[in-house]
Amino acid sequence: MKLNKRAIAGTMTSSDVMIEVIPWGKTSEINIKSDVEKQYGDQILDLINSILRENDVDNVCINVVDKGALDFTISARLKTALFRAAK
């Protein structure tokens, strides 16, 4: 998947996550801010990495502001942001 522009999906309400995807001219960078970072930070990072691999996305900067979203929410928001960025 080739990203053409910056895109955002999600909100910052409780139980949701807001994900910003920025095409990046260098090695990928993932920044996570989460209400449950201590408990689930690693798992969120693993999930994001696996979705990036599945969609063949590289050289991207991803900013995550998580308000306690469940995995399927994070996955849906990230995929939406990626598709928007690829338009």
């Binding site: 409780s14 139980s15 209400d35 449950v36 201590k38 408990q39 689930y40 930070g41 690693d42 798992q43 308000k67 306690g68 979203a69 469940l70 995995d71």
Partner: protein, 492 residues
């Protein structure tokens, strides 16, 4: 018969009347806070107490601590009935050396984080409202000076919490302090020559009367915890809870109840009201932190008496002032376990909330899922132990945090006193209560095991990383009888 008295001795001892000058009789004087703090000579090792009826709008504790800090006072114990966001910045008084020990019911937000990080060398003592009253009455905690924020006082210190410009309602927690503290200081922004009637603080308990510009912010009494919910999950839980209360045949003439704060437990009241009207039943009393929702039931004639240790909103404050059977009670009468007549023992049912509850039905209302102090013991374990039936209501998960889990991080209320858990994913009954289990089955109320709920929750949120604790103990959680039920560890 032999004369028992030597009358001359008596005259010498007592003195003879020599006349009286009315103009020279003792008179109280209204003082400034600074004058009183200087006069009291608060020093190392002393304990000063506050009450939290102004909740987030409390101004007094900070006024007192700021003056003490300026004087360079060190090593005092603060012993408030609870701490709120109004006390968020108290870390600065820990760092300055003023506060060396804290005893409280609640601790949250920034101060909770400061304490959890290990800022205070001595662990915080967490007590329930009943446990605090017990500790004071038994002499386990000695209060050197009690500061009591009141809405209206006369010049002699007869005072109440519900008149004036800054009312907070019931003064229930401080009513214990004022009987046992060495010195009692009443502070208000309304002080009159005319006697205060009715008064909750009698002047004979008061040593100093202090006038300040503003004693508290009444609008901040009501916290988010007392809003009536529109959240469908919480409404579902509330509806289920009311159905269970009905099925257990609790709603009978002269029944008694307490519904705590928190979305669903408040909404239970609303559903119970419908059932009471339908069955033409009147409750004898409602207890606790009183809210406007409970006041409405009282004014509609559905609840005869309100026993009020703390007002949770201004409707309750207004009702305490105007309704004669809305009655102010002290914390010992409310919940002191050593007082056999304490009124929690007369509760038919209590509905409580929880931050966490586990397979043993042990409940945590003190620390968040990250192990950091962000709650209050309150009357949770007191009412659970006293009531005939204790129902805990909680969503199965909050965001990504499981509420029902294998093991709570900290125990405040032991599972042996918790009878039923109602969640949005099902209701579990404590296996110790076979009577309840049988009755609910007979009434066809669906029940699941607590283990099923734990597994459901874990499936939704997945297993979290364990919390990294330090070695230091930052909090000691006392059960209401004074024994230690759990320790709170430093979080790194």
């Amino acid at each position: 018969m032999e004369d028992r008295y030597d009358i001359n001795e008596l005259l010498k001892e007592k003195g003879t009347f020599t006349g009286i000058d009315k103009s020279k009789r003792k008179k109280n004087k209204v003082r400034s806070l600074k004058y009183v703090i200087d006069a009291l000579d608060i020093k190392d090792g002393m304990t000063i107490s506050f009450h939290h009826h102004f909740r987030n709008g409390d101004l007094l504790a900070d006024m007192v601590l700021e003056l003490l800090d300026k004087k360079g006072t060190k090593n005092i114990t603060i012993f408030p009935s609870s701490l709120t966001t109004a006390h968020d910045h108290f870390g600065q008084y820990i760092q300055s050396g003023l506060i060396s020990r804290i005893c409280t019911s609640g601790i949250r937000d920034r101060l909770g984080e400061d304490i959890s990080s290990g800022m205070l060398d001595t662990p915080v003592i967490i007590r329930s409202h009943g446990g605090r009253a017990r500790a004071i009455e038994s002499g386990e905690e000695k209060i050197d000076v009690a500061f009591i924020a009141v809405a209206h006082s006369d010049v002699n210190g007869n005072a109440n919490g519900f008149e004036g410009v800054s009312p907070c309602g019931s003064l229930g927690y401080s009513m214990v302090d004022m009987k046992h503290a060495d010195k009692v200081v009443v502070v208000s922004d309304l002080i009159t020559e005319e006697i205060t009637i009715p008064f909750s603080v009698p002047s004979y308990n008061v040593d100093y009367v202090v006038k300040v510009e503003k004693i508290g912010i009444k609008e901040k009494i009501m916290s988010g915890a007392t809003r009536l919910t529109t959240n469908p999950k919480e409404l579902l839980i509330a509806k289920r809870t009311a159905d269970i209360i009905e099925a257990l045949e609790i709603i009978k003439e002269n029944f008694t109840f307490q519904t705590g704060t928190g979305g669903s437990s408040l909404a239970v009241t609303r559903f119970m009201r419908d059932k009471m009207i339908e069955k033409k039943i009147v409750a004898d009393f409602a207890l606790g932190g009183i809210t406007g929702h409970i006041v409405r039931l009282h004014e509609e004639g559905l609840v005869r008496k309100l026993l009020d240790v703390q007002c949770f909103d201004l409707d309750a404050v207004f009702s305490l002032k105007n309704n004669i059977r809305h009655f102010e009670i002290d914390a010992s009468f409310y919940a002191n376990p050593e007082n056999p007549g304490c009124v929690v023992n007369k509760l038919d049912v209590v509905v409580l909330s929880a931050l966490e509850i586990d397979r043993n039905f042990d409940v945590n209302v003190m620390t968040g899922s990250d192990g950091i102090l962000r709650g209050a013991s309150g009357g949770h374990c007191d009412t659970a132990a006293g009531s005939k039936i204790c129902i805990v209501t909680s969503p199965l998960v909050r965001g990504r945090i499981a509420t029902v889990k294998d093991k709570v991080l900290n125990i405040v209320t032991p599972g042996s006193t918790v009878d039923i858990l109602v969640t949005d994913h099902g209701t579990a009954v404590n296996p110790l209560r076979k009577d309840i289990m049988a009755l609910l089955k007979e009434k066809k109320i669906p029940i699941v095991s607590i283990d099923t709920l734990v597994e459901m929750a874990e499936k939704i949120v997945k297993k979290p990383n364990p919390i990294v604790y330090g070695d230091k103990v930052v909090g000691v959680i006392e059960y209401r009888d004074g024994s230690i039920i759990d320790l709170v560890k430093q979080v790194i």
